[in-house]
């Protein structure tokens, strides 16, 4: 199966070893040996069920309302978390699309976890939903709302009451995204 994949798409980004590893994992998650993963397959990962963002992260594995996740799709999502290579980015052909593990794409992945309605903006309501998931029950609704308000206001630069992707990246420009959104094992 691995051999059949277009090499540029997969092996170009992942090393052979980690690809193999991912493939084994893929097979292990696929409980009925049906050749693809369903939402159920991911939901049965115990730790994911207690992750406050678990549901949303599962969603991001099934873009565009797909119900089936094949191995290339699986790898493509995980490729976001590959550490950034040391090689000089100048070598890359500018026409080529940015690699999935670039800073922008990492950020975009995080951004779409917030942006549920896919309108390119995190509205106050969406921010509130995320906060409700993340912040413990100890904080009251009212406080949560004021946090959401303030968070949006803080990042919102054009005053439209929502955080666009540009504003999102700007609010995180001081953060080492390349490091914070990478997993070494996916090299």
């Amino acid at each position: 199966m691995i051999r059949s994949e277009p090499p540029a798409l997969l092996t170009g980004s992942f090393s052979q070893a980690s690809l193999l590893r991912l493939y084994h994992r893929f097979r292990a998650l696929d409980r009925n040996k049906k050749g693809y993963l369903s939402r159920m397959d991911l939901q049965q990962i115990g730790a994911l069920a207690v992750n406050p963002l678990g549901e949303r992260i599962i969603d991001s594995f099934f873009p565009d309302g797909n119900l089936r996740l094949d191995f290339p799709g699986f790898v493509r999502v995980l490729a976001h978390f590959r550490p950034i290579d040391d090689e000089d980015p100048g070598i890359r052909d500018p026409k080529e699309p940015e690699p999935l593990n670039s800073r922008m794409n990492k950020l975009r992945f995080a951004f779409q976890l917030y942006d549920l309605d896919r309108d390119g903006k995190i509205s106050r309501h969406e921010m509130l939903q995320v906060l409700r998931l993340m912040v413990g029950v100890q904080v009251t609704e009212e406080q949560l709302e004021s946090i959401a308000d303030r968070t949006v206001q803080e990042a919102d630069e054009d005053g439209d009451g929502a955080v666009s992707f540009l504003e999102f990246t700007k609010s995180l420009e001081k953060m080492d995204i390349e490091q914070k959104m990478s997993i070494r094992i996916l090299k």
Binding site: N51, L53, V139, G159, S171
Partner: protein, 898 residues
């Protein structure tokens, strides 16, 4: 600290009497007991604590002196200066007393001086950073220290075998290994003292510093094992002893850590129940941490590790449990003790070096040791980093390695350990002492001096401190969750997985057990950041209240500054927005004298911003309680009041910004007027509720609505004392209204007149910078405002009529007038500009004259007259494009309050 350091300076009484106290003792044994002495000198009774206090005082004074010159301290680390000072003091003492006094005693050092420093560093250790780099730290601490000890010891032995060390240094391989073990450990005190001033990036700092803290376990074990081997004699050491030595490494380190964690648990649990005895909270922190240290020391486990883990483990829960004041107390006491201990250590190190009776010099040994510790440290770092980089997400580059090698400072731990050696068992002790002193001095002074230029020269990534933002905090949590989830999906149980596990365990059980119910909130980090941001805003709001208050383009200090918020004064804004609000002021306000204006601003700031406590703070006499209920409630009220004001004005400005951006404003006043007129016609449709067509009525309406809102808010807030709250809210409401109207580009002129004008304002109204002042409406506003506005309005009209200079607010007479009749009367002739002014508002000739003389150019006056009809007209019907927007904004504010 004082009591703790009591045994610090046990000194022979005779010496002390000779050096410090030349006065003969009156109560010496030979004399008969004197009668009732008027004056008695009791040096001996206070001697020890007195000397301790004196030493600390000297050290502190020295610190002050060092820091007098910024140049010196920026070049030379404080530790170097202190050591040098110690050398000088030691020389003086030696010269006076003919023998060395006040040395660094190992017992004192380990029991009293070291714990505060380690506790401080453990407690304030950035735990996330520490655990993120735990792998590297442990490697350097364990493998690195073992490597250094064995290679240095063996190399020195080789040096001796090669005949480069003088034969009078009688030492076996075991002796050298012992020496290697004590000299190889990087010292937390020295590292901290130097690296705190260097500001390298966080990762590098935590690795070097974490290593220096954790390697204590290894050092202690190695030292003890080698020492017991030396004492047994190398012939008697069995193979099992080596095994035991290895095993003891684990026992000592893990045992020390366990002791620390147990005490951390106890400490957290205890602070959960201190709600009624807040006063002992800081004490508990210190006591239990010290108990952890002593317990570990007693069980010959690693005490440094114990107290580090105790501080690291308990902080989260303790901080959540104890009160804010206790937190501050803990922080400052800890920092004070640590810096005090550090100062004393370095000074005593300097003094101890003077005592030549204790050491014997051997150049071969000294130079060899210096070379070997530098060489093997560098080699060890390179080798370990190479291995570590295979596993690290962010590899440590060459520059990092250089700094790590060079940052391996030795310090007082090594010195104290070498002093502890038994001379009968280790015949070469004196040589070792001398070598250790040289090594310590070399690393602290030479390396300490050069590391800063080196870091600069190598362009090591410095740490950059930026203020936390809610977004960063929130997104960081999101990233953590994402990574944990991805690790789950990938099926790799890595660091993120375990951290996630731990956090869930902590949330479910540990925090439930160790934290007060009320403390949960603070525990949540996002909430915590939000809270701290609010506090900081409140503080800076109070600090620079005037400036922020006066700006409609208000910025929260914690937010990134934006260009669009550049407008700083209401007057500016008004002028730009083309409202006729300021009437004559607009024309003349360039004439204002800065000083008058400042005075007036201050006056109104104080009137509007000062919170009037409903009762005085009680003087607290009780030692056991800080009566804080009343105070804290009041503080909270002030805080809430400020924050409410902030938030509301902030919201309105946010909306203001959107349309300020969208519509560039013309600069000239007169053109503005026309603009305003045009706008008026264009958008004449729907006036918002609280900006009625008629401006006097509008004022009164506003005031009424304020009152409604106030009662609402005071109800919802469930405050008990309505009167004062009412007043306080009134201020904020008025403020808000003004702000909103500012953003509307509509500013009904009368409201601009300050309620309680200063003298200068009364006399010279155009001097008051009223545009600015509009914001500071004093607490009496609710009653005075309508009347004042009324008068102001009338006066401005009268000024038109009489062709006189600017109007004068006659506050004292006018405020007596009941507002209602005026309000009822006004609407009938609202825009009749030639509406005849009340006789009572005619200008006193003297004032008018004064006014005219003040207005520098008389050319202004005709212009002003020309303008006023326009302004009046505009005021009546003015509607800006932003009106609808800001109307919404007011609603929004209200909604949020409820």
């Amino acid at each position: 600290m004082l009591c703790a350091a009591l045994p610090l300076l046990w000194l022979p009484l005779a010496g002390a009497a000779a050096t410090e106290e030349p006065t003969p003792e009156p109560g010496s044994p030979g004399e008969p007991p004197p009668g009732l002495a008027l004056f008695r000198w009791q040096w001996h009774e206070v001697e020890a604590p007195y000397l301790v206090a004196l030493w600390i005082l000297v050290a502190s004074l020295a610190k002050i002196v060092f820091h007098l010159s910024r140049k010196v301290t920026s070049l030379v680390p404080e530790s170097c200066l202190l050591i040098l000072l110690g050398l000088v003091l030691g020389g003086i003492v030696l010269a006076v007393a003919k023998k060395a006094e006040y040395q660094l005693e190992p017992g004192t050092f380990f029991l009293f001086l070291l714990p505060p420093i380690v506790l401080d560093s453990g407690y304030f250790m950035p735990s996330r950073l520490f655990f993120d780099n735990l792998g590297a730290i442990l490697t350097y601490a364990v493998v690195g220290t073992l490597w250094n000890a064995f290679t240095t010891g063996a190399a020195l032995w080789g040096l001796q075998q090669a005949g480069l060390v003088a034969p009078r240094v009688q030492a076996s391989l075991l002796d050298f290994l012992l020496f290697g073990s004590l000299i190889s450990a990087v010292d937390p005190v020295a590292v901290l003292a130097v690296f705190e001033e260097v500001h390298v990036n966080d990762t590098l700092f935590i690795i070097v510093f974490g290593e220096s803290l954790l390697n204590d376990a290894v050092t202690v074990v190695l030292y003890k094992v080698c020492n017991s081997f030396v004492e047994m004699g190398s012939a008697n050491v069995q193979a099992t002893d080596y095994l035991k030595g290895v095993a003891s490494l684990f026992v000592v380190s893990l045992g020390g850590a366990a002791v620390g964690l147990v005490f951390a648990f106890l400490l957290a649990l205890t602070t959960r129940f201190t709600k009624r005895v807040r006063i002992i909270e800081p004490l508990l922190v210190f006591l239990l941490a010290y108990a952890a240290y002593l317990t570990a020391e007693m069980a010959s486990l690693s005490a440094i590790l114990a107290v580090t883990m105790c501080g690291l483990g308990c902080k989260k829960y303790v901080e959540a449990n104890i009160s804010h004041k206790s937190r501050t107390a803990v922080k400052y006491t800890m920092k004070t003790l640590a810096s005090c201990a550090e100062t004393v250590i370095f000074m005593l190190l300097g003094i101890s070096a003077v005592d030549s009776s204790k050491w014997a010099w051997d150049s071969g040994l000294v130079l060899g040791t210096l070379f070997f510790i530098l060489f093997f440290r560098a080699l060890g770092v390179v080798l370990q980093t190479w291995v570590l980089n295979q596993f690290r997400l962010v590899p440590l580059d060459k520059i990092d390695q250089v700094v790590m090698s060079y940052g391996g400072l030795r310090g007082a731990v090594a010195f104290a350990l070498v002093i502890l050696l038994d001379k009968t068992k280790v015949p070469a002790k004196d040589y070792f002492v001398a070598t250790t002193i040289v090594v310590v001095f070399f690393t602290v002074i030479v390396q300490g001096l050069t590391i800063k230029p080196l870091v600069k020269w190598l362009k090591v990534k410095r740490s950059e401190h930026h203020k936390p933002t809610l977004n960063q905090e929130l997104h960081e949590h999101t990233f953590d969750h994402i990574l944990a989830a991805v690790e789950d999906v990938v099926g790799h149980h890595g660091y993120h997985y375990w951290r996630d596990r731990w956090e869930q365990f902590d949330k479910k059980y540990l925090s439930q057990l160790l934290m007060r119910r009320s403390a949960y909130r603070i525990r949540d980090q996002i909430w915590d950041v939000y809270y701290r941001l609010n506090i900081r805003d409140a503080i800076s709001f109070v600090d620079q209240g005037g400036h922020i208050l006066s700006s409609t383009g208000l910025t929260l200090p914690s937010m990134p500054s934006r260009n669009s918020m550049a407008e700083t004064s209401v007057t500016n804004l008004l002028r730009e927005s083309g409202s006729g609000a300021c009437l004559d002021l607009q024309v003349i306000d360039t004439v204002r004298s800065g000083r008058d204006r400042e005075d007036a601003v201050m006056h109104h700031l104080l009137c509007g911003g000062l919170y009037k406590p409903r009762r005085r703070y009680k003087a607290s006499c009780s030692r056991h309680f800080i009566s804080e209920d009343a105070q804290e409630r009041q503080d909270k009220e002030v805080f809430q009041q400020n924050m409410k004001r902030r938030l509301e004005s902030f919201k309105s400005t946010k909306h203001n910004i959107c349309f300020t951006k969208s519509k560039p404003r013309p600069r000239k006043t007169s053109r503005k007027k026309k603009d305003g007129l045009a706008n008026t016609e264009a958008t004449n449709g729907k006036p918002p509720r609280n900006l009625s067509v008629q401006d006097t009525a509008a004022v009164i309406l506003t005031v009424e609505s304020e009152e409604e809102e106030e009662s609402d808010s005071s109800e919802t807030e469930k405050e008990d004392d309505e009167g004062i709250i009412f007043v306080a809210r009134a201020t904020s409401e008025v403020l808000q209204e003004v702000k909103v109207s500012g953003s509307l580009e509509v500013c009904p002129s009368p409201r601009i007149i300050p309620p309680s004008p200063t003298c200068a304002e009364k006399e010279l109204p155009w001097k008051s910078g009223q545009g600015d002042l509009a914001v500071y409406v004093s607490s009496e506003t609710t009653k005075i405002v309508p009347v004042d506005m009324q008068t102001g309005w009338n006066q401005s009209i009268s000024s038109l009529e009489s062709l006189a200079s600017p109007p004068c607010t006659q506050a004292p007479t006018v405020t007596r007038l009941p507002p209602c009749p005026l309000a009822a009367e006004e609407p009938q002739h609202p825009f009749n500009l030639p509406y005849d002014p009340r006789p009572s508002f005619a200008f006193p000739p003297s004032l008018a004259k004064a006014g005219r003389s003040r207005s520098e150019s008389s050319a202004d006056i005709p212009q002003q007259q020309e303008l006023q009809p326009l302004m009046g007209y505009e005021d009546r019907t003015h509607l800006s494009p932003g009106t609808a927007n800001s109307h919404w904004c007011i609603q929004f504010n209200k909604g949020s309050r409820l």
